[in-house]
Amino acid sequence: MLSINNLCASVEDKDILKGLSLDIKPGEVHAIMGPNGAGKSTLGSVLAGREAFSVTDGSVAFADKDLLELDVEERAREGLFLAFQYPVEIPGVSNMEFLKASVDAVRKHQGKPELSSVEFMKLARETSKKVKLDQAFLKRGVNEGFSGGEKKRNEILQMMLLEPKLCILDETDSGLDIDALQTVADGVNAMRSAERSFIVVTHYQRLLDYIVPDFVHVLADGKIVKSGDKSLAKELEAKGYSWLEGEVA
């Protein structure tokens, strides 16, 4: 599904990713943990193709394609989805209109028939129920005046509608209350399948009680410094990151 090999990337001449390798097979859930500023969000941005970040070395294969060759929107249409740590607002553009345009673009690329407005509205309403987002949010501007938790649920709503192959969730759990955490986890679990993979970036082992990962990685100073199964998350919770310092160096 995704094969990252020795990825190096910088932003504004500052090296952030320093030789990161990671292999993700279809159906797998990988959790990425690590200290603040380690480069977790940067990894998401680089995979999604954000312009400000330049790849200086390494390669990334995504579903048999050279990911780094594709534009941002092409990666999205190929099935790469990034749930943002800090979702931005687009004032005046209704959420419904935005979602429809997005789903239309992705379906068109994948050769699927366009959904009529009626079909789409029905689907959007049903899906928003699943993430416990009131229908009023579909009419409001994209993320406009949404609370932190509402923005995160809106990201999950988008993910469910787009049915991506690879979902990167960047701290989707931060800022969520306990019920919302459950809702988001339910959403993710419902989407788990043999063909779909997840990268879940989080600081808290608690999320991983709900979304049980196949692998847990520690990202520090731009590299994966330790990998393990879900028990690694528990260990990190207990010991913090300092015991790994030797491996960082």
């Binding site: 312009e51 990034l82 004032p91 005046g92 553009v93 209109e97 935005f98 997005s102 992705v106």
Partner: protein, 478 residues
């Protein structure tokens, strides 16, 4: 802004074709003889010729204004032809069947559904081609309601008293340089009269088209809503692509008597010139309305075309409790320049005005809001709310705001808010990460920015305006 936005995609101006039609065009130049010729051509009564000549003499004494934040080579008024009429109009068509099929083809190309059966239900339309009004549809249905909707030339012939009473009553001949020029040489335009207590049964609409080379268009529109009457009126404008600049100097006058309401919407898409700033229309327009007691006038404009725009639709709130509104979207791209805004003159007590202006600048364009809110000494309890938002696309364009406030009544309340924002990289990234291409992303963000104004437009035109923005923005991103 970011590199991606620098990359340009070109799309031709969709309305930029020219129709080959035999025309009767006056040679370039302007003098008293030309004014007399136009007047004679239209069989005008003596008083109107006199009125024109007064305006012409005043114009000769006036200087072209230079205070606007626009920069263009001086217009040579002697190089313009002041009258052009399709030859086949010489004996006026009585019905659509008699109209030159080539003309009808032009309108079809423009996407204007002229034939009644194709028309958007409930839209009556007057079409002005170069200088002459071609046909007015739906006339009978309107006549039943007592609504008069025809070209201004026809109104001069048929309803001289109404025209004489109101022409120049809102925008006097000597109001300003371009208004004086228009008063001297106006060739045609629309006339609307809604009798007392009548709610006009349909939207009224005029499409203006400049076709001939080196001709100016000087239309004159007059709308009178008697006591308690209501009308919603829409004008649309296009022109062929030409390397030379062409002049458009229109005057629109609105009279809203007691308790009347006039909604005036404009979708202006004159040819803006090419991406190097060559050609395009100079759009120097004077629009003003007078509100009597409890009357209301709303101006809604979507301005995407023209090389240079100089336009300030205004409301004189003469009657107590009268209301003025101005909703504007002005988009400039490439080398376009727009200096536009409004004047709200509060004379009566408890008068209210709202100004919502959305300026979007892309490319190397300059976009300027200029607005005056004046509270006269008698404007007890008057209120104004102004909101001016500017959106920048890229970093080579400019946005400017010049709000003028004159308050001579201490009880008047004036609120002003202004913001300037950019289409942010974060917003673009979100849209593209969700599969939208850059052009779609920008047009969506811009449409969202304009939403408050679009919702004031009649439904079908709001859709049209949204599409127009999309086309006008092409080339601003990629």
């Amino acid at each position: 802004m970011s590199e991606q936005v620098e990359h340009l995609i070109r799309k031709e101006y969709a309305a930029g074709f020219h129709t080959a039609i035999d025309t009767d065009t006056l040679p370039p130049g302007l003098n008293e003889e030309v004014v007399r010729f136009i007047s004679a051509k239209k069989n005008e009564p003596e008083w109107l010729l006199e009125w024109r000549l007064q305006a012409f003499r005043a114009w000769q004494e006036m200087e072209e204004p230079e205070w606007a934040h626009v920069d263009y080579p001086k217009v040579d008024y002697q190089a313009i032809s002041y009258f052009s009429s399709p030859k086949s109009m010489e004996d006026k068509p009585k019905s659509l069947d008699e109209v030159d099929p080539k003309l009808l083809e032009t309108y079809e190309k423009l996407g204007i559904p002229l034939h009644e059966q194709e028309m958007l239900a409930g839209v009556a339309m007057d079409v002005v081609f170069d200088s002459v009004s071609v046909v007015t549809t739906f006339r009978e249905k309107l006549e039943e309601a007592g609504v008069l909707f025809c070209s201004i030339s026809e109104a001069v012939e048929k309803y001289p008293e109404l025209v004489k009473q109101h022409l120049g009553s809102v925008v006097p001949q000597k109001d300003n340089y371009f208004a004086a020029l228009n008063s001297a040489v106006f060739s045609d335009g629309s006339f609307v009269y809604i009798p007392k207590g009548v709610r006009c049964p349909m939207e009224l609409s005029t499409y203006f088209r400049i076709n001939e080379q080196n001709t100016g268009q000087f239309e004159r529109t007059l709308i009178v809503a008697e006591e308690g009457a209501y009308v919603s009126y829409l004008e649309g404008c296009t022109a062929p692509m030409r390397d030379e600049n062409q002049l458009h100097a229109a005057v629109v006058e609105l009279v809203a008597k007691d308790n009347a309401e006039i909604k005036y919407s404009t979708v202006q898409n004159w040819y803006p010139g090419d991406e190097n700033g060559k050609g395009g229309i100079y759009n120097f327009v004077t629009k003003r309305g007078v509100c009597h007691t409890r009357a209301k006038i709303s101006w809604t404009q979507v301005e995407t075309g023209s090389a240079v725009t100089w336009k300030y639709p205004s409301c004189v709130l003469r009657g107590d409790h009268s209301v003025g509104e101005f909703y504007s979207v002005a988009l400039t791209n490439n080398y376009q320049q727009a200096d536009t805004g409004t004047k709200m003159i509060h004379i009566g007590k408890n008068t209210r005005s709202t100004i919502i202006s959305k300026g979007i600048s892309a490319g190397k364009s300059q976009n300027c809001y200029r607005g005056l809110v004046r509270m006269n000494p008698g404007a007890e309890g008057a209120r104004n709310y102004t909101q001016c938002d500017s959106l920048l696309i890229g970093d080579r364009c400019g946005a400017h705001t010049f709000p003028y406030i004159e308050s001579k009544n201490p009880s008047a309340v004036i609120e002003h808010e202004a913001t300037t924002s950019k289409v942010s990289d974060d917003q673009m990234f979100l849209c593209q990460q969700r599969g939208l291409d850059a052009e779609k992303a920008v047009s969506m963000i811009v449409n969202g920015f304009c939403r408050e104004v679009f919702k004031e437009l009649p439904m079908e035109f709001a859709v049209e305006a949204g599409k127009l923005l999309e086309v006008s923005l092409e080339g601003s991103v990629g």
